[in-house]
Symmetry: C2
């Protein structure tokens, strides 16, 4: 993969200019794109800024997020020629930080489950996951140092796990969703993909204008002597496949070897209840968020989305209100529960990327955290016997994104040292 | 004003067709618009639906809300030719309910404070208020039975008070803001204007698909014998002017005469604290929500907004995080506090509409309720000696929109009976 911090160090040292760093990415895209198909649009004339913390950094933007002058296609023929008049807020913030939106990355239609044509960069017979397929695959393939995606169920962390990228879904609304196509306003969360956790921390600090999110010296901590990590199996979400079980096991052994205290934990009952109502909230809100698309263009919706929206029309307001109360209660319970640990570690996805391109995988180990609005990080570094990556997931309490990134960086380093 | 329920009764009785009801509104607009200037666009060919609870109802849509095929101008030259590709969610829901979006109503630029050219329908030398100026004025002038606006500080309740319209700002996100230009994602709330509270209850029930919001028989209750109403002066927001004090006094006397129990109450300290941080949240979020407009078109922003955004760039993340915690705490405190009363009654605006068109008035009696996300209703029915209307505001706990509407309908009826 292509490290953002490495690129910046070479720019700072005068070895390359910001513009040549962006051009380098265009060359990498040209070389690799035909085997990955991560982009819907590439700006081959993308200019680099000479200032800002992300100067020279080419960034892929998921194609439900507006970039002024580029088509926002939503992964749907309904929006085929939909040129964005304005930047989404996160795109404008990216430019403020000196970053270069270099193109639009593929998304499943309206960021739901119908697959894109994107291929897994580690094995083209496997899905890259979704919905942020292109953003995960472009970083996983080493075409870009940074990309932006969104998660409503597991659309950032799952494809990151499948593509071997580091990724964060920060606390709800830390990154503004203005100018991002809505599927569910209570759930949709912007996230970032990068080559490593220190890269991710640097980029999130720059975009959010929260400098405290950067790691000290932009490096992962060596020791975990003071860390208390809770291991959560998420039984309410079913069992993992062997690959994810092996990844979690490897991560636990690696961090215990570096002194972290690792304890199995059970989630309070309220969290399992919240897991169960994620779909009610998602369905009720999507039936309204996509009301125009459904009423005016139902025939152009892809099959999984169309069927889901057909059913979603019938979720009663009372069920939605109940679900929101359940979620509200779980957020409060989670606060107390999570305070006892520096972070939780759990599965990032059920397993490595499923074979075939007909499905994008399952979000069952991600949904609860999206609903709670808490930060979660995919830590890459483990591969199965066939060479496919699979991540582990670090979770902390709302607003503790700094802690999530520090712990994730430590886990990543420990996993690498093991190799 | 033009009553929605009256129109529907005439349609149901076969006295008029839905299409002639819509045409009637177009005639009224043609007769009155030149003295009010409430619209940026009028669809003179608007078709009526023959089905749905809002068949035959012509609706004005604030010009920050997308209606497919019409320009969404945002009250700004930056968006002068910005034709909406899709309906906003609320527009699509309106069509589902049979309503006819008949045109776009004026808004202050990006729904902030720089005035529109709209005039108060009761006296053209006075402001109609803002930011939902056109939506309030069109209903207040009797051109339309229903219109849609938004409130981030006091942009629904204040212009309703100034224009003599009934209006509700429902619980946060009851009406989806998808497709509505964002100023502050934690605050922006859609609201409705109509000729009376029963009209309002009917329309909100239809748009939200929550039939329980309708009043029994679509009529206001006659008696308040079982109601406990708390009178809140909102001292933290400063003193009212004479007109608002007189309106509140008249309302209290009228409902006491009909048997309601009315008690002066003081708000918990946490509410005053929350009132104080509304601006921090609004500023921090608007600096991000309007990042593209500010960075790419600052010179085209009107003066009040430009200066506010200049300052808003400097609100630190830590201040924002503190403000959110203060608001979160206040929402919990409000829950317990409000449970002791069926509703609170308070000022809807500092006074009647200020003279002149240079300012749109103040939102100080509205901001707290927007930040708390609780339903509030403007009850019309009082006029000062010069004939200018001024409302009183009914407030209930989150999700108790039904109760807010029932109490407001009772207050409205009591005020009318007094005349």
């Amino acid at each position: 993969m292509l490290s953002l911090l490495d690129l910046l160090r070479r720019i700072d040292a005068g070895q390359i200019s910001p513009q040549s760093a962006v051009s380098h990415c265009l060359d990498l895209i040209e070389a690799k794109e035909y085997t990955v198909r991560a982009f819907t649009h590439i700006d081959t004339h993308a200019a680099a800024s000479t200032e800002g913390p992300l100067r020279g950094i080419a960034v892929g933007v998921k194609d439900i997020i507006d970039v002024a002058g580029m088509v926002t296609g939503m992964g749907s023929p309904i929006y085929r020629d939909n040129v964005a008049r304005a930047d989404a807020a996160v795109t404008a913030l990216l430019r403020r930080a000196g970053g270069s939106p270099i193109g639009k990355t593929t998304t499943t239609a309206f960021a739901f489950l119908d697959p894109t044509e994107t291929l897994n960069p580690h094995n083209p017979a496997h899905t890259p996951g979704g919905s942020s397929a292109g953003s995960a695959a472009a970083v996983g393939a080493g075409m870009l140092p940074l990309s932006i995606g969104t998660q409503t169920g597991g659309s950032v962390i799952r494809p990151a796990s499948y593509c071997g990228a580091a990724a964060i879904k920060p606390s709800f609304r830390m990154l503004p969703t203005v100018g991002v196509k809505c599927y569910s306003w209570a759930l949709d969360t912007l996230g970032l993909f990068a080559a490593s956790i220190p890269d991710l921390a640097y980029a999130l600090a720059a975009l959010s204008e929260r400098p405290d999110l950067r790691l000290p010296d932009d490096r992962a901590p060596d020791s975990g002597g003071d860390l208390r990590i809770g291991v959560l199996m998420q039984d309410f979400a079913g069992a993992p496949e062997d690959d994810s079980a092996a990844a979690l096991d490897a991560a636990i052994k690696a961090i215990e070897a570096r002194g972290a205290s690792v304890t199995p934990v059970s989630a309070p009952e309220a969290l399992a209840a919240a897991y169960g109502v994620h779909g009610v909230i998602q369905d009720y809100e999507s039936a309204r968020a996509l009301a125009w698309e459904y009423d005016a263009h139902r025939d152009q919706l892809p099959p999984i989305l169309r069927e889901t929206l057909d059913a979603a029309q019938h979720v009663p307001a009372a069920a939605y209100d109940d679900a929101r109360r359940t979620a509200h209660h779980a957020r409060r319970e989670a606060k107390g529960f999570m305070r006892e640990y520096d972070a939780l570690i759990t599965f990032a996805s059920p397993g490595s990327a499923p074979e075939g391109l007909a499905v994008t995988g399952e979000s069952r180990f991600n949904r609860l955290w999206t609903l709670l609005g808490v930060p979660t990080v995919n830590v890459p570094g483990f591969r199965n016997a066939a060479g496919l990556p699979v991540g582990v997931q670090i979770v902390t309490g709302f607003g503790s994104d700094d802690k999530a990134l520090r712990v994730a960086a430590f886990v990543e380093k420990a996993l690498h040292a093991r190799l």
